[in-house]
Subunit: 208 residues, 2 copies
DNA sequence: GTTTAATTTAAACAAGTGTTTAATTTTGCA
DNA sequence: TGCAAAATTAAACACTTGTTTAAATTAAAC
């Protein structure tokens, strides 16, 4: 598995992400990408092999850093609750910076048609879940977290809450009076993040 | 505007809905549709004019009945709250029977690329909003509903809640222990519908 | 500076796309 | 039965698709 991408490859991936997010995977042609990235059509096949493999590289590229960040987080000396808070903050920031690719992962690849690179993405999810599991079990050992919690459901809760907010953006823009892009993003990084943190904390910690 | 569709046209639309929902609009070719519907490729252009117009017809066909149902509902003699309850039940049932087309409307047409038939769909939404407005203002006149409510936001709330539940189906299947398709649909028609009804009621009626 | 490898290119490939045409069959009506 | 309209067909249209090829250019290594 080679993950050393040169400048040209990264440039192609960035253009691809934008166009995929705009027009969908099927709606975007290699010629669209090569035109936007100002390269020859053959370069995509030369560097990535195929359009499908380009998508796979894009997914790997955009989700690769997360794994290392989680490993770093595990080794930090923090109280379990604070560690979870930081994890959620990390997730939300990541998702908010990669709207394009996560939109594709959730709606393009959710269809029955494409099941190819689901494997490589499922590997990443497994690794992330493993990191989360370590943090939770650390908290359980310290007697801070409940032991009857289903760890597999924490990630869906964290991501699900964020996606619902992001998907219904026009709706929330109105009801919350968030008129600018800045206001909206600020709301995500403060109130929404706090809400998710409190939800997960309530799920994990003992209650009277 | 001709809405008299013959058997063949309806057959084509039904096949198109299934395939669009499965593989997306761009991912489905006219030849895919004609093959599945066992007709000649030219028939789609013959009956609908183009692939885009086929989609437009599909949207109109699948959303047409709703307007009449709402008009009938308005004329029913029911208390305002009961009318709203019935309206929500009607919406949820509709959405649940037309998963395919609403998936397309929300994720295929939400992209920047296609803005063509958004007009015909926006007409339907306007008509539905008009019906809702009548019901709400009736309740306001009777002193049951608050007068400072933004009617335009009721539909997003009703639909948004349902869609979030349906989009994250694998998630809720697990946490709610809904193992069969029947159990899942039953939950939608009982607990979820009730939740939406209570949410809207709380929003509309005065509280101490 | 020559040679080997990596990069980039234009062109072509076969297959698939939406749509149209023109001929044929089927249908409905006088 | 005859005739005009509608329905259906196979074929072709021009264009786009992802991918490959083979030549040209650039870069690196000796």
């Amino acid at each position: 598995m080679e993950n050393d991408l040169n400048e040209k490859q990264i440039q192609i991936l960035q253009v691809a992400e934008t166009l995929f997010a705009e027009k969908g995977f099927d709606g975007t042609s290699i010629r669209d990408i090569s035109k936007e990235a100002k390269i020859n059509v053959a370069m995509v096949s030369y560097y990535f092999g195929s359009k499908e493999k380009l998508l796979e590289s894009l997914v790997l590229y955009k989700t690769s850093g997360l794994k290392e960040l989680l490993i770093d987080l595990i080794e930090e000396e923090l109280e379990p609750v604070q560690k979870i808070y930081k994890l959620i903050d990390l997730y939300v920031n990541r998702l908010n910076c990669n709207k394009g690719i996560y939109r594709i992962l959730h709606f393009e690849l959710a269809s029955k048609k494409r099941v190819l690179e689901l494997e490589s993405f499922s590997d990443i999810k497994k690794a992330n879940l493993k990191s989360l599991e370590i943090i939770i079990k650390e908290g359980q050992a310290k007697g801070v977290f409940r032991k009857d919690v289903t760890i597999e459901l924490l990630t869906p809760t964290i991501l699900g809450t964020y996606f619902h907010f992001q998907m219904n953006k026009p709706f929330f823009e109105v009801i919350l009076g968030l008129n600018t892009e800045e206001e909206y993003n600020n709301y995500i990084h403060t109130t929404l993040t706090m809400h998710i943190q409190q939800t997960i904390k309530a799920l994990l910690t003992y209650e009277s």
